[in-house]
């Protein structure tokens, strides 16, 4: 178990380094950050001086080495555009993204699982068909379109929900939260649905297919033969056994939700990390981009690691394989 963990952590470190290197090589093609930092009247000599001061004239390998050395000490430099330390920018933007992702994930799970169970049990009812059609929309429509449609209906036409922003937030220590104000909660609804819709449909379809499979198994037939109530069979026996793969997927999707909140945040002007990243890309703000990519890689690596370790704990077969390896 210990060897397994150590090997996994070692692999994770390699993944992180690879991501950092690839990101860094790509940054050579995003354009000139200096032009985005100064006004049009700045002279060429001043621009050159700034480039030198930022270390942009050094060879890529030197810049990369410097970046890794600083990153290892949790120093990602100062944003070219906003001119504040990237770590504090991320700390400031993370709560917004996290609350949005959490709400979207809850929305996906709390709606997706019951819908999946229902469509699994009542395969041919019209409600199941409706659920499946809705989920088809969720899978096939791009996120930005869903966001704009929701804004159009609920903000412009009905005027009941805000079209952008986070509403009023309350500051608790270093964390800002919109969970405790009416405007904060209202502002959360549309972005959370936009972000969570795809995951919800995924959960629905996953639970449905798992249910269909489990309901065919012998122990369900046996349970029915024992005369247990439908509820006990469906939820006590069937659902429980469908949940193991579902939990895995949800764990991984949480990482995806955080990482890919970019589009949703841009559409709703949600002041989170994704919006920050988009602005950084447009302005060739290399410190912010590199830190964000590393953070996302770290989240994925961490979640994968936890999932792997959970597997070992849950499934004895993996444990045996792990010991042999």
């Amino acid at each position: 178990m210990l060897a397994f963990t150590i090997r996994r952590i070692f692999e994770a470190a390699i993944v992180m380094l690879t991501v950092a290197l690839m990101a860094f090589v790509l940054f050579r093609f995003v354009g000139d950050p200096v032009n985005q930092m100064v006004g049009q009247d700045t002279t060429l000599a001043e621009r050159e001086e700034l480039r030198e001061r930022l270390g942009l004239n050094d060879p890529v390998i030197v810049q990369f080495g410097r970046f890794i050395w600083n990153a290892a000490r949790y120093d990602f430099g100062v944003s070219y555009q906003v001119k504040r330390p990237v770590t504090s920018l991320i700390a400031e933007r993370f709560p917004a993204t996290f609350e949005l992702a959490l709400t979207a994930a809850l929305f996906a799970v709390l709606l997706g699982i019951p819908m999946g169970v229902y469509t699994g049990i009542h395969r041919d009812s019209w409600l199941s068909k409706l659920f499946l059609s809705v989920s088809l929309i969720g899978i096939s429509l791009p996120t930005f379109l869903i966001g704009i449609l929701l804004i159009y209906v609920f903000a412009v036409q009905l005027g009941v929900l805000p079209s952008f922003g986070r509403g009023e937030v309350i500051r608790i220590g270093g964390w800002t939260t919109g969970f405790f104000t009416a405007s904060g909660l209202k502002a959360l609804i549309l972005p959370a649905i936009t972000l969570g819709l795809f995951q919800m449909t995924l959960v629905t379809r996953l639970v449905r297919s798992q249910m269909l499979e489990v309901l065919r198994t012998d122990y369900i037939k046996f349970a029915r033969a024992r005369g247990l109530s439908d509820r006990a069979v469906n939820f006590g026996h069937a659902l429980k056994n469908t949940l193991i793969p579902v939990i895995t997927i949800i764990g991984l999707q949480l990482g995806a939700i955080i990482a890919f909140a970019i589009i949703t945040e841009t559409v709703f002007q949600w002041p989170g990390m994704g919006l920050m990243f988009i602005q950084a890309v447009q302005n060739a703000d290399i410190p912010v981009m590199s830190a964000y990519l590393l953070l996302v890689a770290f989240l994925f690596v961490l979640i994968n690691l936890i999932v792997d370790l959970l597997y070992v704990w849950i499934d004895p077969r993996v444990r045996i394989y792990g010991r042999e390896a």
Partner: protein, 525 residues
């Protein structure tokens, strides 16, 4: 019953009238962020405009961009190289300090410090001398007729406040943001109540402002909304009162909505095309061993091949003004004398044949795709129009960060044919002749001459224009210079794009052609 309702209504109306300060909150959104509140950090219209509500310069510009007194009540040219400014008395900064000549001297030093991004506001070598508490002399190295042209955005800092807040040095472009850049202390009609960069900024009227307020606002809230569709939706739903810019394709929709309207007007920025006429061989062309753009006939053929009416009506949907000059007609009194070379593909073909390219040639065109209004679409139209005269142009559209790197000085003007836009910071033709048209000397002249066009005659005229103090003579010199560029089609001016602000019908606001969003004259119902 009816009577009772009427009485009630009357009572309510009376109450509304009697209410001393009804809250008038003006909410607006822009596509970009407001970051540092230090106006010397970033020389950019939106930032300078937002801070122009809070801080003031010695001069100001009115609704029509005419120079009017600001913190200086009046000024005179004592000698050709010595200007005397008489400062307004009894002006106080937001924190209660008095405004004096020391603040002006300090602000001049600060503006000229190495990290400053607005050094061009004060001509190099100018000495700033305090005469008494309310008089300041500016001693220039030579006669300078446009000394104060940009001073409406050279905002005066309080010396004492800056010292107390560690703000004596300008925030450098590369280093960390100093805490003072999240605060602002000016003399203007509004003060910053709170500022969260990239999220929200709240302004309140300054009750002790020296002037007479012409607005009726009690609070102003600024928020960034990056996504075009969301910005439009926020305006249509009434969550904001004003936003900038309205995407060209949404103008009709915002106008059609009962509670909103679009304010349009010509912007100062001119969009134009550069052709590399400097190199002996083009970097990106199938013509080898020579450079076709060195021949004025080829440049003119390109000029005459472009149907600006079509671009105006189709690409810009009527929201542009075709231009014969590299400067907005609002900024040059004799602009009306200039007419575009007529659109005439046959004449263009003939010119190409005369120059030795009867079958045209191939060239690559570089174009930004996120900088100007419909920039990429304009380039696509140009490419299609050039095809009609046999020019096979290949379009490279790219994000601005990449574009300015490639076509600009960073990669040594690595481009043969490109599109650029320019607003002269000084609102004056000399800036255009120096930056866009002047021969590239690697120092200052021609830094934004992306085509490398070079004509010594024009440079000589520009040098004369710099020091000519007689306005009529000066305009004559400017016209001569522009005439030369026009005749040999050194660059191809296209149009001035239009400003488009989406506004709620409850709001009256003045739209200035420089696109600064100022609340000075804003009224809300």
């Amino acid at each position: 019953m009816k009577l009772r309702i009427m009485t009630l209504a009357a009572a309510l109306a009376a109450a509304a009238l009697a209410a001393p300060a009804e809250a008038k909150t003006f909410r607006y959104a822009f596509q970009g962020d407001l970051n540092a509140l230090d106006p010397y950090t970033l020389n950019e219209t939106f930032t300078l405009g937002a801070l122009g509500n809070v801080m003031e310069g010695l001069t100001k510009r009115d609704r029509d961009l005419k120079i009017i007194p600001g913190l200086a009540e009046r000024w005179e040219i004592a000698e050709p190289t010595r200007w005397r400014f008489y400062l307004r008395k009894g002006v106080k900064f937001h924190n209660g300090e008095d405004f004096t000549a020391d603040d002006v001297v300090f602000s001049a030093e600060r503006a000229l410090s190495p990290e400053s991004n607005i050094k061009s506001r004060i001509a190099a070598g100018t000495k700033v001398v305090k005469v008494d508490d309310h008089t300041v002399d500016f001693i220039t190295t030579g006669p300078n007729p446009i000394l104060h042209y940009e001073w409406d955005t050279w905002y005066i800092f309080s010396k004492k406040w800056s010292e107390d807040n560690g703000a004596t040095k300008v925030q450098t472009s590369s280093s960390q943001l100093s805490p003072f850049t999240l605060k602002a202390n000016g003399t203007g009609p509004f003060l910053v109540e709170s500022h969260q960069p990239g999220v929200k900024t709240v302004f309140k009227p300054n009750p002790k402002w020296w002037g007479k307020p012409e607005h009726n606002l009690t609070e102003i809230i600024f928020q960034t909304i990056k996504s075009d569709a969301t910005r439009v939706a926020a305006l249509l739903s009434g969550e904001i009162d004003m936003m900038d810019p309205v995407p060209v394709q949404d103008i009709a929709r915002v106008k059609a909505n009962a509670s909103t309207d679009v304010l349009t007007g010509p912007e100062l920025r001119t969009i134009f095309l550069n052709m590399d006429s400097l190199r002996d061989e083009l970097l990106y062309s199938d013509v080898k061993g020579k450079n076709p753009f060195k021949d004025a006939r080829v440049r003119k053929a390109f000029y005459q091949a472009i149907d600006m009416e079509a671009i105006h009506s189709r690409v810009m949907r009527g929201n542009s003004a075709n231009s014969a000059l590299l400067i907005s007609p609002l900024l040059f009194s004799r602009a009306a004398e200039f007419k575009r070379h007529a659109y005439d593909p046959d004449a263009a073909k003939k010119l190409l044949a005369e120059a030795g390219y009867p079958n045209g040639f191939g060239v690559e065109m570089d174009c930004p795709n996120d900088r100007y209004v419909n920039d990429e679409a304009v380039c696509q139209a140009v490419v299609a129009m050039l095809a009609r005269i046999g020019i096979k142009a290949k379009l490279n559209a790219m994000p601005k960060a990449k574009y300015f790197e490639k076509a600009g000085a960073t990669q040594k003007y690595d481009s043969s044919f490109n599109l650029l836009g320019w607003t002269p910071g000084s609102f004056d033709s000399h800036n255009v002749l120096l930056n866009l048209v002047g021969c590239r000397d690697g120092k200052g002249s021609g830094a934004f001459n992306y085509g490398g066009y070079c004509n010594k005659q024009v440079d000589d005229l520009a040098n004369k224009i710099l020091i000519e103090t007689d306005n009529t003579k000066r305009d004559d010199l400017i016209a001569q210079a522009f005439r030369i560029v026009h005749e040999e089609a050194g660059l191809i001016p296209l149009h001035q794009q239009a400003l488009a602000w989406g506004v709620s019908k409850k709001v009256k606001i003045v739209q200035r052609a420089d696109n600064q969003i100022l609340f000075y004259w804003a009224q809300k119902e």
